[in-house]
């Protein structure tokens, strides 16, 4: 009898001995008439790391927002320590002991690290903030996280990696029993990630219940005890991490689409003329001490990569090529053998250079506009693109002079074509871009670049915060773009991505190029070694 009972027991009851800290039961939520969560059950045990994974759009963010008090479910309930909890706002959740590390940075750039960490939770005596005591706490946490900045430094002066670490510091200072971590390592390097994992182990030992949300499956299998897979608003798998593996989990995530996974380092054959003219030729680029003696070149149809830890100068190099960063005199930049001065983005885009920035929230999407406008608008401002974008336009004046009205129908056709080829998940061109998941927003920005038919496209962290399925789709789109003859630069912190996409990879360290490798002749370990120096 005990045997049949134990077989009937579901996976998550295995851990029922430990007290359940936070339990969500039957969560449902609708956005704009569409139900995105169809009755979710989830529980977090004290002293355990529970990973929640799923494609973008599967419902992870919605669950996190409910658990942290940012939104309320339409039905279902949340229990904290076996008592029903109705968090009306983020502060209530925080006070109840639920701490969250948000995926999008929520720092005030004009305030110091110290002020940001204690925002909303300032320690006071008779109404006056006790800065001395607060500073000590913050200094200790900064040390534990390995941040070298002073507590009094303004957060806008920090690198993105350090900002993410401050976001983490915000969550772990103070009292809390539940910690929700949403993509906490997206901007961190290996060393910082391992430091974070040490902190997670410490918190586990202290009995904190941890919900870990990440696209990086290798991290999940490294740190999590249990894993729950979400697909299209439903739980499709619940396991102990030791009872499953990443292939199985990916299948659960993708369902019928699992055949999309290429599974290896396979790269589509790329045709580019070996002796062809370089689209971009950079010689002796120096920029304000951040970049030194950089020389690179990109041929039409070639995909090259920049590898290097955050802070190695990758991002700065992309900015310099696009005209967002000043370069010192003596730098020579040639586009198709023509020397140019790229002093501002307008010049670069006129020359056919397009940049997909790594910070799509600040420097990419137009948050107040709909999808069609996000894709089409910047290209309407570009005369040459307009002509190309309306090959069948009856309005010849528009084509020859660049002036005139662009037909709405043409705009929609362009948008639909991009939506199909990139498989952008949305309900229509009129959706607000902020309603899309991260991966789909990235596809929108990519579409914008595509229709501009650039001669050179610079992609900075093109799949940051993008799930497995969408990643493959973006990679395919990049292959296609290269086949069309665009020269492409990919700057990324994920080596497998660089190996998958690029023909040649430059490794940067401390603002200089330390090596150039052919991806066919190297592997991840070798590149990591070069990066580490």
């Amino acid at each position: 009898m005990p045997d049949s009972e134990s077989i009937a027991r579901s996976d998550h009851d295995v851990a029922a001995k430990a007290p359940c800290k936070l339990r969500a039961a039957g969560l449902r939520k609708c956005f704009g008439g569409i139900e995105v969560l169809h009755g979710i059950d989830l529980d977090l045990m004290a002293g355990e790391v529970h990973a929640l994974i799923g494609e973008n759009g599967a419902g992870k963010s919605t669950i996190i927002n409910i658990l942290s008090g940012r939104i309320s479910p339409d039905s279902g309930q949340v229990e904290l320590d076996q008592r029903i909890a109705k968090f009306g706002n983020p502060l209530a959740a925080k006070r109840a002991g639920v701490s969250i590390i948000a995926q999008e940075l929520e720092l005030v750039p004009t305030l110091s690290i110290l002020e940001n960490v204690f925002l909303g939770a300032e320690p006071t005596k008779f109404g006056i903030i006790r800065w001395g005591e607060a500073r000590k706490k913050v200094a200790a946490v900064l040390r534990e996280l390995g941040i070298e900045a002073e507590p009094s430094q303004l957060t806008r002066t920090l690198s993105i990696a350090d900002q993410q670490l401050v976001e983490i510091a915000k969550a772990i200072v103070g009292d809390f029993r539940v910690l929700i971590m949403d993509e906490p390592t997206s901007a961190l390097n290996l060393e910082e990630t391992s430091r974070l994992f040490k902190i997670i182990s410490r918190l586990k030992a202290e009995g904190v219940a941890i919900l870990y949300v990440s696209h990086r499956l290798w991290e999940v299998f490294d740190i999590a005890d249990r894993v729950t897979v979400l697909r299209d608003g439903q739980v499709v798998q619940r396991s102990l991490t030791k009872d499953t593996n990443s292939a199985y989990v990916i299948q659960s995530m993708l369902g019928s689409k699992s055949s999309l996974i290429s599974g290896g380092q396979s790269k589509s054959k790329r045709n580019f003329v070996q002796s062809g003219r370089p689209v971009l030729d950079v010689r002796d680029l120096n920029s304000g001490g951040l970049l030194r003696n950089i020389s690179i070149s990109v041929k039409a149809g070639e995909v090259v990569g920049f590898a290097g830890v955050l802070g190695s100068g990758r991002t700065e190099l992309c900015e310099a090529i696009y005209g967002l960063r000043k370069v010192d005199a003596g730098t020579r930049i040639l586009l198709s053998d023509r020397p140019v001065e790229l002093d501002e983005p307008k010049t670069s885009s006129r020359y056919g250079i397009f940049l997909l920035s790594e910070d799509r929230k600040q420097e990419g999407i137009f948050p107040h506009l709909d999808l069609r406008e996000n894709v089409v608008l910047p290209n309407m401002l570009n005369k040459s693109a307009r002509g190309k974008a309306n090959p069948t336009s009856e309005n010849n004046i528009a084509r020859t002079t660049g002036f005139g009205v662009v037909s709405a129908r043409d705009e929609l056709n362009i948008f639909e074509a991009m939506r199909r080829s990139l498989n952008i998940k949305c309900s229509g061109w009129a959706n607000k871009v902020t309603q899309l998941s991260g991966g789909n927003q990235q596809k929108i920005l990519f579409a914008r670049g595509r229709i501009a038919k650039p001669s050179l496209m610079i992609l900075s962290e093109p799949t940051r915060g993008v799930d497995v399925g969408a990643k493959e789709e973006i990679y395919a789109a990049i292959d296609e773009l290269a086949a069309d003859g665009t020269g492409i630069i990919v700057s990324s912190s994920e080596i497998p991505e660089l190996l998958r996409l690029c023909d040649r990879i430059w490794v940067l360290r401390h603002g200089q190029i330390v090596s150039e490798v052919k991806s066919a002749e190297t592997d991840e370990e070798a590149i990591l070694e070069i990066m580490a120096g």
Binding site: V108, T110, L111, I129, R325
Partner: protein, 319 residues
């Protein structure tokens, strides 16, 4: 040189002040006469008090366009009450309370009706100005009680005008609130990144109400002091004060984008602009040109603020 000027906001004002004083004294030695300097100090003190309130508002990335009309209204209330022989302490209390009340009204327009502060305070400015006109029937009310005047232009320790002392107290209190209280830090947080403030649990309507009530109170105080200084009040008191105080705040180094507030800079800038106003007077520049001069100063200050932001973006200014 330009870089260091860009870096320190207060340094620029100080340098400008020194240049201005030297220049105007060279034009007319009377600039540095005791009477003139006292006049500048009193005028700067009143301007500083109102501008300190505006500093909070701008740090929260909002605007209060009604401060001028509040000054006028409270000045009129004070003068009218004094003409009916109400005791001075009561008059002062009533005046300050009016300021608080008007500030509260502004806050309600913004938080309940969800109006942008620019729009809400533009509306209240018209209404309050109208109320002042009704109260005075367009006439000037004379103040016969000289105690109020003494409280403003009378000298403390025989040297410093009272107004400066009041301004100093306001400055100290505002600084303590801004730097040492959660409320003050929340003001800056909301201005810097409202989304982050919401996520941290800051109560934005509550903080907004507090900020506009403070702005209203200080405007009321400024209005009352102006009435004391002039020994009379009419509805034109405070005309242009809102634009002037925005200029003072921006010249003082606080960015219109919000997120930070330079309170000492505001005080310095109040002194600077009051000196320039007096200097233009002493140099016999027709008052018609004043608008031009102060408009130009505001534009320069905004340009510098803009340049600072661009330099920051290009990674060339780390501060």
């Amino acid at each position: 040189m330009l870089k260091s000027l860009l870096k320190s906001e207060s340094l620029a004002s100080l340098v400008a002040l020194v240049i201005v004083v030297i220049a105007f004294t060279a034009i007319n030695g009377k600039f540095l006469s005791r009477l003139n300097v006292e006049g500048i100090v009193v005028s700067a003190s009143i301007s500083a008090i109102v501008s300190l309130g505006m500093t909070f508002v701008i740090a929260m990335r909002a605007l209060d366009l009604s401060v001028g009309s509040i000054m006028g209204f409270v000045a009129v209330i004070a003068a009218v009450m004094l003409s009916y022989n109400f005791p001075l302490p009561l008059v002062i209390a009533a005046a300050l309370l009016s300021g608080v009340g008007l500030g509260l009204a502004n806050a309600l327009l913004i938080t309940w009706l969800q109006l942008p502060s620019f729009v809400a305070t533009l509306a209240s400015f018209s209404v309050i100005f109208g109320l002042s006109l009704i109260l005075t029937h367009g006439a000037t009310v004379t103040i016969h009680n000289s105690t109020l005047s003494q409280l403003v232009i009378g000298r403390v320790f025989g040297v410093v005008p009272c107004a400066a002392l009041i301004a100093a107290v306001v400055f100290i209190v505002m600084t303590i609130i801004f730097i040492l209280t959660p409320f003050g830090r929340h003001v800056a947080a909301i201005g810097g990144e409202a989304r982050a403030a919401i996520g941290a649990g800051v109560n934005i309507p509550k903080v907004t109400t507090g900020v506009f009530m403070i702005s209203g109170t200080l405007a009321g105080l400024g209005g009352m002091m102006t009435a004391g200084m002039l020994q009379n009040a009419d509805s034109t008191i405070g005309t242009g004060a809102e634009l002037m105080s925005i200029a003072v705040v921006v010249v003082g180094g606080t960015s219109l984008m919000g997120g930070r507030g330079n309170l000492p800079g505001t005080v310095l800038a109040a002194l600077l602009l009051a000196s320039i106003k007096s200097g233009l007077n002493v140099a016999n520049v027709p008052s018609l040109y004043e608008g031009l001069v102060f408009g130009g100063i505001l534009i320069i200050a905004l340009m510098i603020d803009g340049m600072r932001r661009t330099q920051r973006r290009k990674g060339m200014l780390v501060v």
